[in-house]
């Protein structure tokens, strides 16, 4: 299975691009490549099934220039014929006929094989009684667009003209020239393979007459222009995305975002070291974007410092671990609806095709540690803050929006060390950090605890994190890129037009790359010896 993300950048340029953007604000270069439409001549040759595969070829044949799927006996399991052509942005035109007309078939796209029997995981342009022209997510999220407008255009028992257009996170289909599906599915499958289906059940014959496959197509369908098509888009019925466990791939960029508890992770590097150690041969880049006092309501950044979501974007974040709700819970139950709405909004800002987002619950407060002597006990709101309810609402939000969720609240509360996991009742101490890191690793299905074996790796992680912090959130921001950049401070002392501060900041970039290389060297030492 190859990486779905364009990884042509390689580490060097990708990192540079990411870092660059944060400080120098060159903007984000995530635009879809403006390649020309390209007709795929290899997709189907009209004569035989070269370029196609199936676990049981006996169902499939070519007749009169069309692919025929025929089952003479009842079929136990869905059967698929897989194309070897990978698609991302594409247009597919097929004429299809179902015999008898009450059977079920479908066209998988941007799909993967789910198991050795060739079952499919991914989008399916559905066909058959009661499902014509609907969008199903096979083996995954199931119903995505379930309107019946495609069905109305169907000529039962005859040839039907089926078109699929997928560009970025937008998917449309049309039957006999009438628009059927129109969804925007941020975070959905961005690329994969096409497969033709015979559904399980009674004997049937499905004839797929492939007209053409076009990569990077123009956005037009069913006589509608791009903007008309865009107007039809809605979010899918099931918004879930790839949940846990995460599959981390080489070149993945992982970012952590949240308040002080996240920010503090950069100072001990425990979780980072564990993640790297669990993937000793995978090149991962991890950035801590935690900022003290960040909440779903406010992420304060000075003039010239791009927003929270832009920072995640400009780093090219593939996996985001986000923790909010800790300080917000001090607002009590009455503020809960506002919290959920704001959290959803924040997440909508960072939701992206192929970006995996995992929400970390807040941790339980330890009110007894919020004061230093018994006399200093006070009526601060830690005792009454409904953290558990906030955690529960975050879990529900993750479920309904299709994000991963890791519960830290209940395991911490149940821990024998509960009561001595924070420095001040709210911020994790090293023991707390270790426990939280272990919980996250468990949820990622890479259970692992910190051990002395990881110390050399951790040391390099910490070195990188210091460089990263001084680069990303340097002192004197006002002069670097804030509201005081015209002052002599950031300029050369002789040539006043030359700004030396931004130039100097660039020196961090090779230093960070070198630090990352040392991390990888340590990481690879942890790989099991063959």
């Amino acid at each position: 299975m190859s990486s779905s993300r364009s990884s042509g950048n390689g580490f060097y340029s990708a990192a540079r691009q990411g870092l660059h953007c944060i400080v120098l604000f060159l903007g984000i270069s995530y635009s879809v490549s403006w390649a020309q439409p390209r007709l795929d001549k290899t997709f189907f040759n009209g004569k035989d099934l070269s370029g196609w595969s199936a676990t049981d070829r006996s169902y499939w044949s070519v007749k009169d220039g069309a692919i025929v799927g025929r089952a003479d006996q009842p079929v136990a399991k869905n059967r698929f014929l897989w194309s070897s052509v990978k698609v991302a942005n594409f247009y597919l035109s097929i004429d299809v006929k179902l015999e008898p007309d009450d059977r079920n078939a479908g066209i998988q796209f941007r799909s993967q094989k789910a198991d050795a029997t060739g079952q499919a995981l991914g989008y399916q342009a559905d066909m058959g009684r009661d499902v014509w022209g609907r969008l199903y997510h096979e083996h995954g999220r199931q119903k995505l667009d379930w309107s019946d407008r495609g069905e109305k255009a169907v000529r039962r028992g005859q040839w039907n003209h089926y078109e699929i257009l997928a560009v970025g996170d937008r998917i449309w289909t049309a039957i006999n020239g009438k628009l059927a599906v129109a969804i925007k599915d941020p975070g959905g499958d961005a690329s994969g393979y096409i497969a033709l289906q015979i559904h399980s059940g009674e004997p049937q014959t499905v004839t797929y007459k492939i007209n053409r496959l076009v990569h990077n197509p123009n956005v037009e369908l069913a006589g509608l222009t791009e903007s008309q098509l865009d107007q039809q888009l809605k979010l899918p019925l099931d918004k879930r995305q790839s949940g846990l466990p995460l599959k981390l791939q080489s070149d993945d960029v992982i970012a952590f975002a949240g308040g002080t508890n996240i920010a503090t992770m950069r100072k001990d590097g425990i979780l980072e070291s564990l993640i790297l150690a669990a993937h000793p041969t995978t090149k991962l880049r991890i950035w801590n974007l935690g900022w003290d006092g960040d909440t779903v309501f406010e992420q304060f950044r000075d003039v010239g410092f791009k927003s929270w979501s832009k920072n995640l974007d400009s780093l090219g974040t593939d996996v985001a671990f986000v923790q909010f709700g800790q300080l917000e819970s001090l607002g009590g139950v009455k503020a809960l609806p506002q919290f959920v709405a704001s959290y959803k909004k924040r997440l909508d800002e960072i939701r992206k095709t192929d970006r995996r987002i995992v929400l970390l619950s807040p941790i339980p407060f330890e009110p007894a540690r919020s004061y230093r002597t018994p006399e200093a006990q006070s009526a601060n709101p830690l005792t009454t803050a409904p953290v558990e309810q906030y955690a529960e609402e975050i879990r529900k939000l993750a479920e309904s929006e299709g994000y991963g969720f890791i519960d830290l609240f209940h395991p911490l509360q149940a821990s024998p060390s509960f009561g001595s996991l924070t420095t001040d009742g709210m911020h994790l101490n090293p023991d707390g950090q270790r426990l939280v890191a272990a919980l996250i690793m468990k949820a990622l299905q890479s259970p692992r605890e910190f051990s002395t074996e990881l110390v050399p790796l951790q040391k390099e992680v910490l070195t990188k994190n210091v460089l990263w912090f001084n680069y990303w959130r340097p002192s004197n921001w006002a002069f670097l890129n804030g509201d005081r950049i015209t002052q002599p401070f950031s300029h050369d002392w002789k040539d006043k037009d030359r700004r030396i501060f931004p130039e100097e900041m660039k020196a961090f970039e090779p230093l960070i790359r070198e630090a990352e290389q040392r991390i990888r060297d340590e990481q690879s030492k942890l790989a099991p010896v063959r």
């Binding site: 308040g259 002080t260 920010a263 503090t264 900022w291 003290d292 006092g293 960040d294 909440t295 304060f300 000075d302 800790q326 300080l327 001090l330 009110p367 919020s370 004061y371 230093r372 002597t373 006399e375 200093a376 006070s378 009526a379 601060n380 709101p381 830690l382 420095t423 001040d424 009742g425 709210m426 911020h427 001084n470 680069y471 959130r473 340097p474 002192s475 004197n476 921001w477 006002a478 002069f479 804030g482 509201d483 005081r484 015209t486 002052q487 002599p488 401070f489 950031s490 300029h491 050369d492 002392w493 002789k494 040539d495 006043k496 030396i500 501060f501 100097e504 020196a507 961090f508 230093l511």
Partner: protein, 995 residues
């Protein structure tokens, strides 16, 4: 302007070209400032007031390089923070900042031993000792360092708080000090934005603010954020009864107490006095060693002008006022940069010397080679002929011994003893405290002061002692009562009935007690607290009480407003309620409710006016009629003015008739004018004829007539043009009226106005001021400059007038290159040299300034040029819209002054950005933005000493860019003139001004 060369020639010929010795002035603070950086050379630069002696205590020889803060420990050792990593760590470098301990083991008044307590620190700016360790402000964090194995080096580091801003590395958290009750205070500067997660929520402070941290409770509170009490507070201190003061890094000194009300509402705290130029830190002299005359004076580190300053602070109703006395020390060395001053255990005054030709942050490049990274000094000033103080042994002493030290006359001893008592285990302290209080003799003169000090020990342990508090609350000394009020606020969440305790104090005979009680009440979030707070109104108010009471109303708003709405709050006097709703009008208050409150007897004019305004905002025609029908309203110019600033409200014929009473010639001109403004703003057309007859009536006050004309322009539009043109055209029309008519024409038709303006300019040959008045109506109008230029292309102007017009443009701060060029041509001035910036040119000119610059001649140029003093103050004279120039030469090198004068847009000083707004009516207003809220913007303009407050609803555009100082002011001056002017400016503040 044309007079300058003549004047100079004349004066110079009188003086003769005598080359006066200008003393040892090095005009360059951003190149090697001192050729000799030795201790001996610096010592030689000092001029000390009589009766003092100065010696070196420590220097770079003991590892002191770039010191920024110092604190004493109980053993008399001096802890010094050094920050060579400042101002910005180089990429990949490890920070090398240190906390070093200095010790004078042989007692000769010089440190002889030093070791490093903590190393590898990252640009920390402040610290204080306490709880057996060090509280250190390091970038985003407040950390606690401790030496647990007693080897003299920190071995543990705990982050107590994090999230402090680092947007400017000379403004991160600094100036740590313990309050008498064991609270840690520190501050942050103008470019800092902090968000700190605490158990009470996220504590926020944007821009300059003061922080208070109660360590045992881990409670952090921000005050005075938004730079409302100085843009860079640096240095706090507490008086003998706990009165808090803080020093701005700028000239101002503040009495902090009125600002210690926690609320997000922002208002500028009035300062109590100021230095001539920047200085930081407050040390209050409380030692027997130093001269009696110095006792109680505030000593300030004048880092900017190389002085140790002295201020005398005296009572001023509920607060204080301060005046500047002669300095204790002045230095001719530009590298002498005192940035901390502390009385030591021996009673001597210790001065921390950053020793650096470059003090500042923004004024010089971050990598300027002259940023000194190797020197740093601590000086010791003693009083000649007075014995030094022998400090008692404090280290390792039991609680009882430490308690006895609270009676000491030496503040140093008491501060240390309290710090030590705060860190002793409570089990040890608690019994000893009771015992010690029991042994105090009530007849002793300092009995109540001892109680106050010991109450602070209770506070530092968060141990409530209500009996002691009550005793102090009934003390004979007003200071004791004031302090008790303060503590009642601090303990309000643990006292059974804090408001009962505070009740007598808020009506105390002493104003300062009332102020402290008011601030204390603001921390009790209950409706009754507002009832109590309002009782301070029963006695005379002053600026400090008003400030605190307003803040209190905001701080308690969430408590009193719902109670008021549900009728669950009863004020002691109707006037109290009236005051409250006049300050914060409840959004749900009805017209009937306002009318009822307005009927309250004996309302102050301010309160009544504000209530009437609020009533007007409810906006019913009947209410407007009610307001205008009030006899008091008809003679209240301020009310009418304020009404005119509201959105237009419905005015019934009856109301309009009432308003005409204010337009009667029998009323004062102020009332007439305010009524005209109201008619104009609300477009009350039925009053137009009345106003027209006022405006054209010769005996009426000219100001009233002028305002009347403006109103007619508004009401009648172009129909007013014939009248205006008639007035402008007639030589009999008084000038004020002509100018007003000109303004009206400018608003209606700039082309017509241009012709009239040029005629007016031809008449305005008398002075630049007259010329400024003549051109202003047109120039301040959209497209006005263009129209004037077009007219001047057709119509010539006599040379003198053209010269005056150039001058007027300069004093108005207008950048209009084409117009200037045309005027220059008309004036037949010298060739215009528009100087282009290049480093080589600056270098060349700087060299000329140093070698041939003539400061005396420069001063004459300065004095003869009206555009400089129009904006800049120099030795107490001139405008305030631009930076004070009194000691510019201390802070900036000649190279920098050249850049500032010739290309003012290159480096704009903090807070001096130009803002230019255009109103929807096309008026252009430019100046310095003083304050801005969501609704209004306050702009300080050159036209008036008062800020102009502009409603954002009236704005068409707002731009902020560049400097208010126009480029090209020197275009008509020769190289020699510029050279000499720069020379003069670069010597300012260096020695006595040239007489």
């Amino acid at each position: 302007m044309h007079k300058i060369p003549l004047l100079i020639t004349l004066v110079l010929s009188l003086l003769g070209r005598t080359n006066v010795c200008r003393g040892q002035i090095n005009p360059m603070s951003v190149s090697p400032a001192e050729t000799d950086n030795s201790v001996a050379a610096e010592l030689k630069s000092f001029q000390l007031a009589n009766g003092y002696k100065i010696e070196l205590f420590a220097s770079e020889e003991l590892g002191i390089a770039d010191p920024c803060a110092m604190r004493w420990d109980e053993k008399g050792r001096l802890w010094v923070l050094t920050i060579p990593s400042y101002p910005q760590l180089e990429p990949g470098q490890k920070p090398v900042d240190k906390l070093t301990i200095l010790e004078d083991r042989n007692g000769d008044g010089k440190a002889d031993t030093s070791w490093v307590f903590a190393d590898g620190l990252m640009m920390p700016l402040g610290f204080e000792l306490g709880h057996g360790g060090v509280y250190l402000g390091e970038q985003t964090e407040l950390v606690f360092l401790k030496d647990t194995d007693h080897d003299g080096k920190a071995d543990t580091r705990e982050v107590l708080l994090s999230g402090f801003g680092t947007h400017d590395s000379h403004q991160t958290i600094n100036s740590f000090i313990w309050s008498p009750g064991g609270e840690l205070f520190f501050s942050q500067g103008h470019s800092i934005y902090s968000r700190v997660e605490t158990a009470w929520g996220i504590e926020k402070a944007d821009r300059a603010a003061i922080w208070r941290y109660r360590p045992l409770r881990r409670q952090l509170d921000p005050f005075l954020d938004g730079s409302t009490a100085s843009v860079n507070p640096w240095g706090m201190n507490f008086g003998e009864w706990g009165e808090m003061f803080h020093k701005a890094n700028d000239p101002e000194l503040f009495y902090t107490v009125p600002g210690l009300v926690k609320t997000a509402q922002r208002a500028l705290l009035p300062p109590i006095g100021k230095l001539v130029i920047k200085g930081s830190i407050i040390e209050i002299i409380r030692t027997k060693h130093l001269p009696d005359d110095l006792k109680g004076d505030f000593v300030i580190a004048g880092y900017y002008n190389n002085k140790i300053e002295r201020m005398r602070v005296t009572s001023d109703s509920s607060g204080y006022s301060a005046r500047l006395l002669d300095p204790i020390l002045s230095s001719g060395s530009r590298s002498f940069r005192p940035i901390d001053v502390k009385v030591g255990p021996d009673g001597a005054l210790y001065v921390l010397d950053w020793y650096n030709p470059i003090i500042g942050h923004y004024q010089a490049s971050m990598r300027h080679p002259d940023r000194d990274k190797t020197h740093g000094r601590i000086w010791r000033i003693t009083a000649t002929g007075r014995p030094l103080v022998q400090p008692p042994k404090l280290a390792g002493q039991p609680v009882s011994v430490l308690l006895d030290q609270l009676k000491s006359d030496e503040h140093w001893v008491r501060y240390q003893a309290k710090r030590l008592l705060a860190e002793k285990p409570l089990a040890e302290v608690k019994p000893a405290l009771t015992d010690w209080i029991g042994k105090l003799a009530p007849q002793d003169a300092n009995y109540e002061h001892c109680l106050m000090e010991v109450l602070g020990v209770f506070e530092s342990h968060e141990l409530v002692n209500e009996a002691l508090l009550r005793q102090l609350a009934q003390g004979k000394e007003s200071g004791a009562r004031a302090y008790a009020a303060h503590v009642a606020g601090r303990w309000s969440d643990r006292l059974a009935d804090p408001l009962a305790l505070l009740e007598p104090l808020i009506t105390d005979e002493n104003a300062r007690v009332r102020l402290e009680a008011l601030v204390a009440v603001s921390s009790v979030h209950r409706p009754e607290a507002m009832v109590l707070a309002a009782q301070v109104l029963n006695q005379p108010m002053d600026k400090f009480l008003r400030y605190a009471l307003n803040k209190t109303a905001y701080a308690l708003q969430e408590a009193w407003e719902p109670a008021l709405q549900t009728g669950k709050i009863a004020f002691k006097k109707p006037a109290h309620l009236a005051w409250l709703v006049s300050v914060i009008p409840p959004s749900w208050y009805s017209a009937d409710q306002y009318r009822k409150v307005i009927a309250t007897e004996n309302l102050s004019p301010d309160v009544r006016r504000s209530l009437l305004l609020s009533l007007a905002k409810t906006g019913k025609a009947a209410d407007i009629a009610f307001i205008l029908n009030q006899p008091a309203a008809q003679t209240d110019a301020a009310l009418l003015e304020n009404l005119s600033k509201l959105d237009a409200q419905p005015v019934s014929p009856k109301a309009a008739l009432s308003l005409k009473n204010s337009l009667l010639p029998s009323k004062t001109a102020e009332v007439n004018m305010a009524a005209i403004h109201l008619v104009r703003a609300w477009k009350i057309r039925s009053a137009a004829t009345t106003i027209r007859s006022l405006a054209t009536s010769y005996p009426i006050d000219q100001r009233v007539r002028a305002e009347g004309l403006k109103a007619l322009v508004e009401l009648n539009g172009r129909a007013a043009l014939p009248l205006l043109q008639k007035l402008v055209g007639s030589a009999e029309t008084p000038r004020v009226i002509r100018l007003a008519a000109l303004k009206g024409i400018s608003e209606l038709d700039v082309t017509l106005a241009a012709g009239a303006t040029v005629r007016e300019m031809q008449r305005s040959g008398g002075s630049a001021e007259a010329m400024r008045e003549a051109i202003t109506p047109l120039i301040d109008q959209r497209s006005g400059i263009k129209a004037l230029l077009a007219e001047l292309a057709k119509t010539a102007l006599p040379k003198p007038q053209a010269r005056l017009a150039l001058e007027a443009l300069a004093t108005k701060g207008i950048n209009a290159p084409e117009l200037s060029a045309r005027l220059n041509a008309l004036a037949e001035e010298r060739t215009i040299v528009a100087r282009k910036y290049s480093p080589e040119y600056v270098e060349k000119l700087a060299k000329a300034v140093g070698e041939q610059g003539d400061a005396k001649r420069g001063e004459l140029i300065y004095r003869a040029n009206p555009s400089c003093p129009a904006c800049h103050a120099l030795n107490g004279q001139g405008g305030t819209i631009g930076p004070n120039l009194s000691a510019i030469g201390r802070g900036l090198s000649s190279r920098e002054i050249i850049t500032e004068v010739l290309w003012p847009n290159q480096n704009i000083k903090e807070g001096y950005n130009r803002v230019q707004v255009e109103t929807k009516k096309g008026e252009i207003i430019q100046g310095i933005k003083v304050f801005e809220t969501a609704d209004v913007i306050h702009i300080k303009t050159m036209a008036s000493s008062k800020s102009r407050i502009i409603d954002k609803k009236e704005l068409a555009s707002q731009t902020e860019s560049g400097s208010l100082m126009p480029t090209g002011l020197m275009d008509a001056y020769s190289e020699e003139d510029v050279r000499d002017l720069i020379r003069y400016l670069s010597e300012l503040g260096s020695h006595e001004p040239v007489k």
